[in-house]
Symmetry: C2
Subunit: 333 residues, 2 copies
């Protein structure tokens, strides 16, 4: 089904058929209708490759994510896709499994597809070869969840959010608060959240809390169990993300600790599943869909203007809290 077949069948030139779809006003109504009818009958759809090649614009936004297995990163594209569609764009999501080399490969492949813009969640903007290339290629892009002065970003203020959550725990009476995180060095988000943890404790006049790094999610429960068996068990655990928090609840439960009676647990992310868990998950809520939406809004502006986004365009949507049932007051002890 090519444009030529439609043209022939409708007794017009290919130019007219093209206009019917791209600039209908330039075509006399009777002609237009005739073409539309034929196109419909033949099931004609313009070939995207040809269009992209010809116009040098694909009307596609590339989306680079660590994984879709973490609900956070599955929720965000919902907002991206919806808003992209409003602006006439489709999206192509690509996952990197947190691998740096994959980030670069993903960017290269999307560039080869002539995407008009990209939304990416990278491990660490400061050390990302992918971003360097993107910038050089003058492809408009925004980072989501990352925060970095040299790049356009859309993300909550992780540090402030975690400092806030520490205050809330302290307000509830907690004094021994520990943090659980994935490998800090692997992600700027983890680092920023940890800074917020330290700052929050400091602001509350508490000494530096323990940080438990769990490099591999698969062994999280095991590590946590060992940790909770250790001396001076904390009364509250702040977990750097919701998946970790879920596993923390499990680890606690496995060793006979009740949540929140014996141990308070708070996560970070605000995944939609949180409220449906038992106990429902207390967490710092990021507006995941909204983040996606704002990314695309920024991008749409840049793409329309035909120039890359600047770091100053960065947005900081507000975080919020879901108390949930997993945090409570510390045990009387």
């Amino acid at each position: 089904m090519s444009i030529e077949a439609v043209a022939r069948e409708a007794g017009v030139s290919v130019a007219t058929v093209s206009r019917v779809f791209n600039a209908p006003d330039l075509v006399r109504p009777p002609t237009r209708e005739k073409v539309e009818k034929v196109a419909l009958r033949l099931g004609y759809r313009a070939n995207a490759s040809a269009q992209t090649l010809r116009t040098q614009r694909s009307k596609v936004i590339g989306v680079v994510l660590p994984t879709l297995l973490n609900p956070v990163f599955a929720e965000c594209p919902e907002g991206i896709a919806a808003t992209a569609a409003e602006h006439g764009y489709s999206i192509i999501p690509v996952t990197t499994s947190y691998r740096l080399a994959d980030e670069e490969a993903a960017v290269a492949r999307l560039a080869a597809r002539s995407v008009d813009g990209m939304v990416l969640v990278v491990a660490n903007p400061a050390a990302s070869p992918a971003l360097k290339r993107l910038r050089a290629a003058k492809v408009p892009y925004v980072l989501a969840y990352n925060r970095h002065a040299k790049h356009p970003c859309v993300s909550v203020d992780h540090e402030a959010a975690v400092a806030d959550v520490v205050h809330r725990l302290v307000a509830r009476g907690h004094r021994r608060i520990a943090m659980v995180s994935g490998q800090l060095s692997a992600s700027d988000r983890a680092q920023q959240r940890h800074r917020g943890f330290v700052r929050g404790l400091g602001e509350c006049g508490l000494s530096a809390g323990t940080l438990l790094e769990v490099p591999f999610m698969e062994h999280a429960v095991q590590h946590l169990t060992e940790f909770l068996r250790g001396p001076a068990r904390p009364t509250a655990l702040f977990c750097s993300n919701d998946l970790l928090a879920i596993r923390t609840v499990r680890a606690a439960w496995q060793m006979g600790l009740r949540v929140p009676a014996d141990l308070s647990v708070v996560g970070f992310d605000g995944i939609e599943l949180g409220p449906d868990l038992t106990p429902s998950l207390g967490t710092v809520v990021q507006p995941n869909r909204e983040i996606g939406i704002q990314c695309v809004r920024l991008l749409a502006g840049a793409m329309a203007a035909g120039r890359p986004l600047v770091p100053k365009a960065s947005l900081t949507p507000d975080h919020s809290f879901r108390d949930g049932e997993s945090p409570g007051p510390p045990p009387a002890s």
Copy 2:
């Protein structure tokens, strides 16, 4: 960065550059190396649109899914992407939000992108206009999770799996077993699972169990709570999918029922999060990644042969069980 720029810079023709990437053996090593060096220096990547337009093959597999918010459908693409990559294909995932019209639109858009094949999870193969068009277009495709005699499918035998799970519950001593499901009419999977439920009960000599249809996931907990308050509360609940099972556990807990002491809950899907929940989720495990892998294997064969897949090619990977902690013996009463 076009092939021509590389050719000029390397002092060869565009054909030679093309060969360096597509048929390196046809190029004399010195020439090849020179071209490779120039290409690398210039950061050249072949334009995918031009390649697709010219060769009429995109080396892309389109993936049509209901949503990525359900972990089942996020896990499957992991297998798809990995296997696709092995065969030199990339994937473009598209979500339909369970909307029929979106299925058709997704297929149309992917077709416009000249995808070489498609993997789809549809609401109901029997009533899918999208599939009709696909077939007519002679694009090779496979359905995942769906089962239908007229289409090539890769899916566990939902009916048998659920019948099995009923047997297991009965073996544990349960007699009053109910099923919770989304809207039956919305999905062939739900229907097949329900048939398995009915069959399983029959095989065990039990009378037809209650079916609770929960049309909207958001109200699941509320509906479930009402149901559990009703007369002759079952001792075990089979939930048509894991997300529903998670909410069922919550509903039970909210009204003071302990799982599994007061109520056994079993899900279906085998999402990876299941074992990390508290209590860990008993469920029928589908090999989600493997399903994706098998889909691509079938597809790769068909695409290589240049002809669509036939229904007979369908595969039925084995299901298994994770006992988990959510099912147990019925209360002594």
